[in-house]
């Protein structure tokens, strides 16, 4: 899922200095699950802003901010407000900005990554959406996302005791994990082959990506 965390309160207040009444818009999907921008967090942030006397706050949470079909109730509420503070991920903020062209839309969250819930209050990045998945080669551990240098041909010299040189206290070496996994599967020979350079045009380097599915009704 998409994992986000709330921006520092002063940064949020900084957006709102010129506004009297804002719509604080939560999202019921990923950011609800990661406790960053769901109904509960909307209530908490709304209270903070009201108590601090920043502005009047109208609270509302929709099922998914990344999909226009869930905005039906939002239009009337937005009409009463002079700005929207979105607690959705960066996708939600951008769709809200597109749907309300005459209103400033501000992000209340920093969208961090697509990741795994490791347990209460902990998430780790797992996928960079590179658009050219190689997990089948690397034992289900992604070198693009899990190696700090996205190396395709094995660990750099900075892997020590299973940890990454860039953050030896907290970050595991992705290549140690690939090695452990392939060794357990008795597939270490996979690592003998030189992995060719990646085609980065399939990732964001090719520009914002688009998927069109005519079978679902999209125009080609």
């Amino acid at each position: 899922m998409i994992v986000a965390e709330r921006k520092p309160i002063d940064e949020i207040k900084g957006f709102l200095t010129k506004h009297d009444r804002i719509l604080l818009l939560g999202c019921g999907t990923c950011v609800t699950v990661c406790n960053a921008g769901g109904e509960r967090e909307v209530g908490m942030l709304g209270s903070i802003l009201r108590l601090a006397g920043v502005c009047k706050v109208v609270e509302h949470t929709i099922e998914r901010q990344c999909d226009a079909e869930f905005y039906e109730d939002v239009y009337d509420l937005a009409n009463e407000c002079d700005a929207i503070l979105s607690m959705g991920c960066g996708v939600g903020v951008q769709l809200a900005a597109r749907l309300f062209p005459d209103k400033p839309v501000y992000p209340a969250l920093n969208t961090k990554f697509m990741g795994i819930n490791e347990g209460a209050g902990e998430w780790t990045e797992a996928c960079l959406a590179c658009g050219d998945c190689k997990l089948g080669i690397f034992g289900g551990v992604c070198p693009v996302a899990q190696c700090s240098k996205s190396l395709a041909n094995g660990p750099c010299g900075g892997s020590e005791d299973g940890m990454c040189e860039a953050d030896p206290n907290c970050t595991e070496c992705g290549w140690q994990r690939i090695y452990d996994r392939l060794k357990a599967l008795d597939q270490l020979e996979v690592l003998e082959a030189v992995e060719p350079p990646r085609d980065w045009s399939r990732t964001h380097d090719g520009g914002p990506r688009r998927i069109t599915r005519p079978d679902l009704g999209a125009e080609e």
């Binding site: 041909n153 660990p155 750099c156 070496c173 003998e192």
Partner: protein, 324 residues
């Protein structure tokens, strides 16, 4: 040896091809365009080593470029090995710089991953890693052997022009001290498959682990396919020894060396003595083609180490007629 059988014709390649025990040095370019320090360091290394590595923004700190420093060394009569990391440039910039280096007379290149930018003075920088060091080795190899860029285009100005292959002697790094240990030899084998001519290892203090790594290297016959230069960094002081032991990823300094550095009246002299002992151990090891002496900010002591190890004078390689 005639130029026909040489890949690049560099002094380093000739020394290794002739079976001499090679010595390479290292020169860290300055942190400004004041090049007087290059003059000074170059004089310490002159006649002491067969070629000199020029680091490429090492530890992710901005410095005078390795290629520019390499050209300055050529003008001073020393042979450069330019280091090139994958951290700061994408494949377009890397290939452009290889052509540029070649046009400036540079013929040795060391292909590296690059330290993470979090270690340096621009920790908020975006790193590149478009390709990795193995892919860079393959790219330089294909430029030399096939006369093509990574995209497959031939390296020539027009369809009617001659293909001008940049004939580089290709180096890589090997770190026998990083983890996972078993992958270290696999990674060397990959670099050999990609076309590397020589490797320089991470600095060695843990000779037991290095010996075990070399045993695995020989078991796979890799020492017969690539020239292995054993990396050495003399210990200047007890403080440096402790720092290397605790703070540098993939470097393990045995307690025996720490005790010797601590007990010595003259720690610097003890560090040099240890280094010379290591050179003797390495010369006796099958498959070691030379040493790579990384006297970090201590280039002034290189003559003492090389002489103490009996590695002087350095061989003077004859060039055949008509060679540049």
């Amino acid at each position: 040896m005639s130029s026909d059988t040489l890949k690049s014709g560099t002094n380093l390649e000739r020394v290794l091809a002739a079976g001499h025990f090679a010595v390479t040095g290292e020169l860290g370019p300055p942190k400004s365009a004041d090049i007087s320090v290059i003059d000074k360091k170059a004089e310490y290394l002159r006649g002491m080593v067969d070629a000199v590595n020029l680091t490429d923004n090492q530890t992710a700190i901005v410095r005078l470029s390795s290629i520019a420093t390499g050209r300055l060394l050529i003008e001073r009569g020393l042979e450069p090995v330019i280091q090139m990391t994958c951290r700061d440039r994408n494949r377009l910039a890397q290939q452009a710089d290889i052509l540029g280096a070649y046009a400036l007379g540079i013929r040795n290149i060391l292909c590296l991953t690059g330290d993470h930018q979090c270690f340096g003075n621009h920790p908020t920088a975006k790193h590149v890693f478009d390709i990795d060091s193995v892919q860079l080795i393959r790219a330089v190899y294909d430029m030399r052997e096939k006369g093509v860029f990574m995209c497959g285009d031939e390296i020539r100005n027009t369809k009617k022009s001659e293909i001008v292959n940049p004939r580089m002697f290709i180096g890589g790094a090997a770190n026998p001290f990083g983890d996972p240990f078993e992958l270290r030899v696999i990674r060397l084998a990959k670099k050999v498959n990609a076309g590397v001519d020589f490797v320089q290892t991470q600095c060695i203090y843990d000779m037991d682990r290095f010996t075990e790594w070399m045993r695995q290297v020989r078991n796979r016959g890799l020492h017969e396919k690539v020239k292995i230069l054993a990396g050495l960094t003399p210990l200047k002081s007890l403080g440096m020894a402790k720092y290397m032991a605790t703070s540098v990823a993939g470097v393990n300094v045995p307690d025996s060396y720490l005790e010797r550095m601590e007990g010595a009246e003259d720690a610097a002299a003890e560090g040099i003595k240890i280094c010379i002992e290591q050179i003797e151990q390495l010369r006796a090891m099958e498959g070691i083609a030379g040493i790579h002496l990384m006297a970090i900010e201590w280039e002034s002591r290189v003559p003492q180490i090389v002489e103490g190890a009996g590695l002087l004078p350095r061989p003077v390689m004859q060039r055949s007629e008509g060679e540049s």
